[in-house]
Amino acid sequence: MRLISEKLYQLNSRKNKLKFSVTVTLKKDVLDPQGNVVQNTLTNLGMNNLKSIRQGKFFEIDIDEKDPKTAEKKINEMCEKLLVNLIIENYKIDKL
């Protein structure tokens, strides 16, 4: 009994689940100390045609929501409320 209902639940939830990614990058002209150090290190390791490297963040988000529009709106809210520092970062939401 238990097993069956669990399966059912999983099926259901799979149906409702939507997957998004959020990519967060530093705005142009904002100093990226990490990127700089990584770039220097790669150059020292012999990667001499490397022009520039900037580091950002990446989130994979699963959300229980049927409607992609609503879901995206919610993801956007998460970005503005917590995930992104709008003063120095830009972001981009993609459906996976």
């Binding site: 002209d29 100093l31 100390p33 700089n36 520092n85 003063i87 120095i88």
Partner: protein
């Protein structure tokens, strides 16, 4: 490009100031020159509203090696050792971006200290937030604390003391003040005064980006269609690069290659070059295309006004260029000769061979405007609060309310995010009256602390000014240190309002009187005006950072009870002054009334007596009585120790509540072992110091006879819960 009124205004200059510029130049400035004037003449760099008043502060003493006027103050701590220290504000950037704002605040003040040749040995901070229930407070608190920690921890300098306060006056304008303390050999101090003609001016450190360019947003928008990309950007701190810069500078300072050195702080390349030239009565010529830039197509305007972090300007002795370059190469840092000193007494700027700006140094420094702004005395309200008319509250409940309040809770949540132990010389960490840092490889130590009392300063600025100096001095005394000198950060509202200028003038008057009386000179500091929004200014919040000397490491004491059955001596007289107390604020939300008066003579006598007793090894632990009064001070001695206490009911007491919660000044609590009691009492009596023997320490319980009894574990929990649940 024509300089319009709008451009002038966007540069924060008044029309009268623009006319002054025209007169000094005998022509119109170009945009680059205007930008430079605006940076040098703004409040932050020119101290135009405060300078007349700052002059009144006592800055001399036989312990003072360098007073205000250099990157940081320097004091003598005996033998060949000196201490370099200063405090600085980073309020506005921290409100916009708390993590980076606080981090770069720490970075900036560290540069001021190692610029002078000192290795930083301690960091402190004073941070003020709005009401905990304000929607922004929590994330500001988180950001600021992790920013301060992020920078100090990474660079490897212990953050050992500070204060964290909440008050709705800071809802729209938090305060983030950072203080750095360094150690230097007396004969190895470096200054910013340029000397000699045709010497190389060297740029070292990080590359220049478009960080925090003042007033540039509009001006540069006119050069370029795509304005969005040209917005001035927030400064991002890079503690890793600062660590390299610090080590490289200290390495170069081992010999005598450097004539003068100056960090690029506010107004970056502009203020550092002008300051060095002005102190040496010389000119400086820069070839701006040599400036290492982080972004493409940067203009001279942007290079001169950028506030990118982790950069320094050095004037080198002839022939030392290669030696110096190799050191910076070793540390993977840029090293570029960008100009030279000249006879002209001008700041001469060239870009790709063309002259792009030329301004007499004097016009930027000694001829900058100075204002004697209008001010009015604070109207003092002398109404007394009749405590008997208030709803009765149990002593125990009132104490619990205070100890669990945001302002009086244990700050461990904050201090555990700071590395307090790195460098392995931290004898006393955060949590005590003052932190104690041993001088490396020696047996002596310094004590450091920062203090402020915005409520006292708001209600009675002169008394408030005196009080913070005295409280700071008491905190150093309590750990057994002889107070030597202070630095101060004056956080105020809009100086163009006469009430605010009045608060400033009177607070400063109080600071001056106390410093003079206690022989506790001011050796460095910083002024931050315009804290507030539109019509709402913050409470006047001067912050004092003090440094004291402990001759023998093993003579320092803490504030936690050490033994059972010790005697507890209250030194100094208790009158029961309850207005402006924590008791009324936390329990009745009463904010009116005057702070307790400060009697400088008592302060001095009492403090010196406590120091004598500690130096004679008669005292086990000590604590000054401040916010919250006697009972809060006693709880703090119990919390975190194994011992509580039993206080006997005082016979002829008029009002127990006032006795326990009153905030009368100049008082200390001392734990004295029975075998030392006679000697102690004899000394106190001989010197006519007022004292009371109020009770004894005991195991496990905090007890006031006939009133309350709580286990010290409960007290600990009460005092440690707020941050966890916030």
């Amino acid at each position: 490009m024509k300089i319009t009124n709008k451009i002038i205004e966007r540069h924060g200059l008044k029309m009268s100031e623009y006319e002054r510029i025209q007169k000094l130049l005998k022509r119109d400035p170009n945009l680059l020159e205007l930008g430079i004037f605006s940076a040098m003449w703004n409040e932050h760099c020119s101290y135009k509203s405060s300078r007349l008043h700052l002059k009144k502060l006592p800055t001399k003493g036989k312990q003072v090696i360098q007073g205000p006027g250099e990157n940081a103050g320097v004091i003598d701590i005996g033998e060949d050792d000196a201490i370099v220290f200063k405090i600085e504000s980073h309020n506005h950037p921290s409100y916009i971006e708390p993590y980076q704002g606080a981090a770069t605040g720490v970075g900036g003040i560290l540069r001021d200290v190692f610029t002078m040749g000192a290795r930083p040995i301690a960091l402190l901070n004073s941070i003020h937030f709005g009401s905990p229930s304000h929607p922004k407070t929590k994330s500001l608190l988180n950001g600021v604390v992790s920013g301060i920690g992020g920078y100090g921890n990474c660079i490897g300098i212990p953050t050992v003391a500070g204060e964290t306060k909440f008050n709705k006056t800071y809802n729209e304008n938090i305060l983030v003040n950072a203080m750095a303390v360094g150690h230097v050999k007396k004969d190895k101090i470096f200054y910013s005064k340029a000397k000699g003609i045709n010497k190389s001016v060297v740029y070292v450190g990080s590359k220049t980006g478009r960080d925090g360019i003042h007033g540039a947003s509009m001006a540069s928008a006119e050069f370029n269609e795509d304005t969005e990309e040209k917005k001035p950007t927030v400064q991002v701190g890079d503690p890793f690069t600062e660590k390299l810069l610090m080590e490289a500078c200290l390495e170069l300072m081992r010999d005598d290659s450097i004539i003068a050195i100056q960090d690029m702080g506010a107004a970056g390349l502009t203020s550092s070059s002008v300051e060095m030239a002005s102190k040496g009565s010389l000119g400086i010529e820069l070839e701006l295309e040599r400036v290492p830039c982080r972004e493409e197509n940067m203009t001279p305007y942007e290079m001169m006004l950028s506030e990118s972090q982790e950069r320094m300007l050095i004037i080198l002795e002839d022939g030392k260029e290669n030696y110096a370059r190799n050191i910076f190469k070793k540390w993977d840092l840029d090293f570029v000769i960008i100009g030279k000193t000249t006879e002209s007494k001008n700041l001469t700027l060239k870009y790709e061979g063309k002259l792009v700006g030329e301004i007499p140094i004097d016009a930027l420094s000694s001829n900058a405007p100075i204002y004697d702004r209008k001010w009015v005395k604070k109207k003092i309200n002398n109404d007394k609060i009749d405590i008997k008319s208030l709803k009765k509250i149990k002593i125990e409940d009132a104490l619990i309310k205070i100890l669990s309040s945001p302002n009086n809770s244990s700050k461990r949540w904050v201090t555990e995010q700071y590395d307090q132990m790195v460098m392995c010389d931290t004898v006393q960490r955060s949590g005590s009256d003052a932190a104690v840092i041993r001088i490396h490889k020696k047996n002596k130590a310094i004590a450091v602390t920062v203090d402020s009392s915005a409520n006292y300063c708001k209600s009675h600025p002169i008394t408030g000014g005196k009080q913070i100096v005295c409280e700071n001095w008491r905190n150093l005394i309590s750990v057994g240190a002889k107070p030597l000198a202070i630095t101060n950060c004056l956080n105020f509202g809009n100086p163009e309002k006469k009430e605010i200028m009045g608060e400033f003038t009177e607070c400063l008057q109080g600071i001056k009187e106390a410093c003079e009386f206690l022989d506790y000179p001011v050796v460095s500091g910083n002024v931050s005006f315009y804290n507030g929004t539109n019509q709402k200014n913050i409470f006047p919040t001067p912050v004092v950072g003090g440094v004291g000397l402990i001759n023998k490491c093993n003579q320092t004491i803490g504030h936690h009870f050490k033994n059972e059955n010790s005697f507890i001596i209250l030194l100094g007289k208790t009158f029961g002054h309850i207005e402006q107390s924590c008791f009324l604020r936390e329990n009745y939300y009463i904010l009116e009334g005057n702070p307790p008066t400060v009697n400088l003579k008592n302060e001095k006598n009492n403090g010196e007596m406590v120091l004598t007793l500690i130096n004679k090894n008669l005292v086990e632990s000590a604590h000054d009585v401040s916010e919250g009064g006697l009972i809060v001070a006693l709880s703090e001695m119990s919390i975190g120790s194994k011992y509580g206490l039993k206080i006997e009911k005082q016979k002829n007491l008029r009002n127990l509540t006032q006795y326990l919660f009153g905030e009368d000044q100049g008082r200390y609590l001392l734990e004295i072992k029975e075998e030392n009691l006679n000697d102690t009492v004899k000394l106190l009596k001989n010197s006519n110091i007022y004292y009371e023997n109020i009770g004894n320490t005991q195991k496990d319980y905090f007890e006031i006879e006939g009133e309350m009894k709580l286990s010290i574990n409960d007290l600990f929990k009460i005092n440690n819960q707020w941050y966890k649940s916030y």
